[in-house]
Symmetry: C4
Subunit: 274 residues, 4 copies
C-alpha cells in the first residue's frame, strides 16, 4: 500500500467493508464515535465537567476535526455528491460535526446545552453497521410485518388513555394532582404501561377503585402487542421450517433435515430438496 | 354535482364511504371530532382556559352546531329513524352534542366540569371508522376468541387480590397505610399488575417478605394473559397458512405458496387450490 | 317436591348440580358467600364500621348460621363423613364458620382482627365452582405442564435476587436504605419484577449503574415465564388441531374440519376421522 | 461400608451421584451451603447481628471448616489437581472459604462488609446441581438460541436509552432532577423497563409529553424479547413433536402418538418410528 493511496483505492477504503484497510477504517471510525459520545455524556456531569472540562474540550475538537476530515472525504469520493449529502446518513454525518463549530459563536449557555447534546446524534451513525447483522434483519422484519397491527393497537390505547384520563379527572380532580385532562392522561399512560411513578396517585376511594379497573385493563392489554410480535416471529420461522419438510416415499415419515439424502428411518433415497 | 343534492344523494354522502363526496364528508367530520376533542382537553388546563377560554368557547359552539346539523341529517335521512336514534352510535352522537346545550342552564361549576368532560365521548365516534380496518378485525377476533379465558383469569386474579390484600392487612395493618381490606386490595392490584406506585409500601420485615412473594406471583401470572392472546393469534394465522398447504403428488413435499401451478421441487403439476 | 324432601333427595340437592333444585341451592350458597365476603371487606373500613357495624354484625351471624346449617347438612349427608370433614374443601367450609363463633370468646382486639379476616377464607369455596368451567381446565392444564419449568425459573430468580441484593448492599449500603441483605433482596425483587415502588432507590452513581443493569436483566428474563406458558398453550392447541388433520386421497390437500365427509376442494370422499 | 473408606471409594462418594453414600454427601453439602448462606444474610440485619452475632460467628467457622475439608478432599482426590483448582467451580469453591480466613486479618469494618458478603458466592455452588435437571437444560437451550437476538435487542435499547435520556435532559434539565445525561439515561432505563421508581419524574408539560411517548415505546418493545424467547421455545418443542409425526399409508392421516403400532383411524399397521 503506497503512502498516498489513489483516489479509487481511497473510495474503496471509505465505502467498502471487504478487506483489511477498509475494515480498519470502519473500526477506527466506530471507536471514535463511541469515545466522542462517551465524552459528551460524561461532560454533562457537572463534577466531571469542572475537573476534566478542559480535556473533554480538547478531545471534542480532535474528534470533530477527525469527523470533518471523514465527511470531506465522503463528499469528495462520492460519485453522486448531492446524493450522499442529502441522504439520511449524509445529514446525520453533517449534524454530528456542526454543533461543535456552532458552539464557538453561541454565548447563551442555555442554548449551548441543547447544541452540545445534538452531538449525541453521532450514535445514530453506529446504526449504519447494524444493517450488516443478519439477526437484526430478522427482528426488524418481524416488527415491520406487525407494524399495521401495532399502529391500530397504539390508536386504541390512545382512546383508552383519553377515556381513563377523563374519568380520573372527574373523579379525583385537581386536589389529588389531576389538575387537567392532559395531566390525567399522562397519569393514565404511566399506569396503563405499568410504569407507575407514583408522582400522582388516586386518593379518594372511588378514584382508587377506578384506578384498580384501569390497572387490570392495562394488565390485560399488555398481552396484545406481545401476542402480535410473538405470533409474527413464530410463524416466520415455522414457515421456513415447514418449507424444508419432506415425506419419505417408503415409510411416510416427515424429514426436516434439509441435507438428508436418505431417509434416516428406513434408508430409502430422499427426493432432492429445492 | 348540483348545489342542492337530492335527498337520496345526501343519504349516500352521509352513510356510504365509496366515492369522493362521501369520503370528504367522513374526513371533515373526523377532523372536526379530533379538533373539538383537542379543545375540550386543552380547555381543562387552567392556564390555557384563562388565556384562550373565549376562543375555545366560540369554537366549541361552532363544532356543536356542526355536529347538531350532522345529527339532524342522520335522523332525517335514516330509513328507520328509531333504529338509528337508539343504536349505540346514535346515542353517542346525541351525547356528544347535549353537554354543550346543557351547560347554558347549569350554574354549579362542579357539575359543569362533569358535563364538559362528557363531550369527550365524541372520541368514541372515531371508533366507528375502525370497523373498516382489516387488521383491527383480526385483533378484535383474537381478543373475542380469548374472552372466556380472560374472564376466568380476571376471576382468579380477583381471588388472589382478595387473599393477598387480607394477608397484607393483617400483617402490616393501619400504621403502614393498609387502613382497610379494600385499601390493601388496591395495593395488591397495584403490586400484582407490576404498576407499583409506591404510595403504600410494606414497612415491617414480615410485610416485605409477603410483598416479595406476592410480587413473584404477579410476575409469574403475567404470563397467562399473554399466553392466551398469543396462542390464539398464532393459531388463527397458522390455521390460515396450513389451509393453503398442498402435498405434491409426485415428490410428496409440502407446498405453501398458494399461487404455485407446478411443484417447485420436481416440476409435477400441482392440484388447484380451493 | 314435598315440603320435607327425603334424605337421598336432599343429598342430591346438596352434592349434585344437574336439576333445578340443586342448581338453586348452589346459586343461593354462592350469593351468600359473596355477600358475606363483601360484608367482611366493608366492615374493615373504619368509617363504615362505625356507621353500619351493628347491621354488619347481625348479617354476619345470619350468614354464619346459614353456613353452619349447610356444613351440618354436608356432614350428615356424606356417605364417608370423615372423608368430607378432612378433605380440603371440608376444612375450608369449617374454617369459614369457626371465626365468628371464636370472636365471642376473644377480647383482645388485635387478635380479633386476625380472626375476623379469616372469614375471608370463604372465598376459596367459590373456587369449587371453577372446576366445572371447561376453559379453566385448559388454563390450569397449561400451568401444570409448565410447573417444572416455572419452579426452575423461580429458583434461578432467587439466585439472581440474592446476587443482585448483595451487590446493591455492598455498593449502596445502609445510608441509601439498603440496611441489610434481606432489605436489598426485597429491593431486588421489587425491581426485577418491574414493580418499582420507589420506597428504596439507589443514590450513588455506581448504585444507579448497577440498578440499571439489574433492570435490563429483569426486562430480559420477564420473557422466560411468558415464553414457557405461551409455548405450552400454543402446542396444546396445535396438537389438538393437527390431530384432526387429514389429507385428501385425491387432491392431497390437508383438511382440518373434523366433520368433513367430502374433500371441500375436489369432492372426493374423506376417510372417516377417529 | 468400612469405617475408613478407600481413596477410590471416597473419590466415588465425592464426585459421583449414583449410590446412597454419594447422594447423602451431596445432600449434606447442599444443606450446609443453604444454611451458611442463610446465616450470612441474617447476620447482615443489625438487630440479629447484635442478638445472635456470637452464634452466627461460631456457626460460620463450623461451616468454613467443613467446606475447607471438602475442598481439601476434592483437591486430594482429583486425578488432574490443577484442572479442578483452576476450573470455574474449583475457583468458586475456593472463594467460598477464603473470606472467613481473611476476616481475621482485616480490621477495616467497611472492607469487612465486602469480604463477608463475598461468602454469598457459595450460592453459585448450588447451580452445579442444576446441571442435572432436564427442564433447566431445555430453558437454557432456548435462551442460548435467542442469545444473538437478545444482544441486538439490548444494543438497540441502549441507543433508545441514549436518545430518550438526551431528550429528557434537554427538555427537563437539572431543576427536575435530570442533573446530567447519565442521570437522564438512568431515568430512561427505569421508565422503558416499566419499573418506574418515581425518584425522578418529569415536571414540565413538555417533559410529561416526552415521557408519555417514551413509555408507549417501552410498552411496545417489551414485546420483542418475549417474542424472541417464546417463538424459540415453541419451535424447539414443535420440532420435537413434528419429528414424531407419521402419515398412515392407507388413510393418510397424521399420527403423533410415538408408540402407535397401528393407525388409530383405519387399523393399518404403522411404519416403525426411528
Amino acid at each position: 500500500m503506497p503512502f498516498f493511496p489513489s483516489k479509487s483505492r481511497l473510495a474503496h477504503i471509505v465505502f467498502e467493508h471487504d478487506d483489511r484497510a477498509s475494515k480498519t477504517f470502519d473500526v477506527v471510525i466506530l471507536i471514535a464515535i463511541l469515545i466522542s459520545v462517551g465524552i459528551v455524556i460524561l461532560d454533562s456531569v457537572s463534577d466531571l465537567h469542572f475537573s476534566y472540562g478542559r480535556i473533554f474540550y480538547i478531545l471534542e475538537w480532535v474528534f470533530t476535526l477527525l469527523f470533518t476530515v471523514e465527511y470531506g472525504l465522503r463528499v469528495w469520493l462520492s460519485k453522486r455528491k448531492a446524493g450522499y449529502i442529502f441522504s439520511f446518513y449524509g445529514l446525520v454525518d453533517l449534524l454530528a460535526i456542526i454543533p461543535t463549530y456552532l458552539s464557538i459563536f453561541v454565548m447563551n449557555t442555555q442554548f449551548l446545552v441543547v447544541i452540545r447534546s445534538l452531538r449525541l446524534l453521532r450514535v445514530i451513525r453506529v446504526l449504519k453497521l447494524g444493517r450488516y447483522l443478519k439477526d437484526a434483519e430478522f427482528l426488524s422484519e418481524a416488527l415491520r410485518a406487525s407494524r399495521n397491527k401495532i399502529q391500530i393497537f397504539i390508536g386504541s390505547m390512545i382512546t383508552i388513555v383519553l377515556i381513563a384520563g377523563t374519568v380520573m379527572y372527574i373523579v379525583e380532580g385537581p386536589d389529588s394532582g389531576y389538575t387537567s385532562i392532559p395531566m390525567a392522561m399522562y397519569w393514565s399512560i404511566v399506569t396503563l404501561t405499568t410504569v407507575g411513578f407514583g408522582d400522582i396517585t388516586p386518593i379518594t376511594p372511588l378514584g382508587k377503585l377506578m384506578a384498580s379497573i384501569i390497572m387490570l385493563i392495562g394488565y390485560g392489554i399488555i398481552a396484545v402487542p406481545t401476542g402480535i410480535v410473538t405470533s409474527e416471529m413464530t410463524l416466520a420461522k415455522s414457515k421456513k421450517k415447514l418449507a424444508d419438510a419432506r415425506a419419505c416415499r417408503k415409510c411416510h415419515q416427515l424429514i426436516f433435515d434439509n441435507d438428508a439424502l436418505f431417509c434416516k428411518y428406513c434408508g430409502e433415497e430422499m427426493p432432492k430438496l429445492k
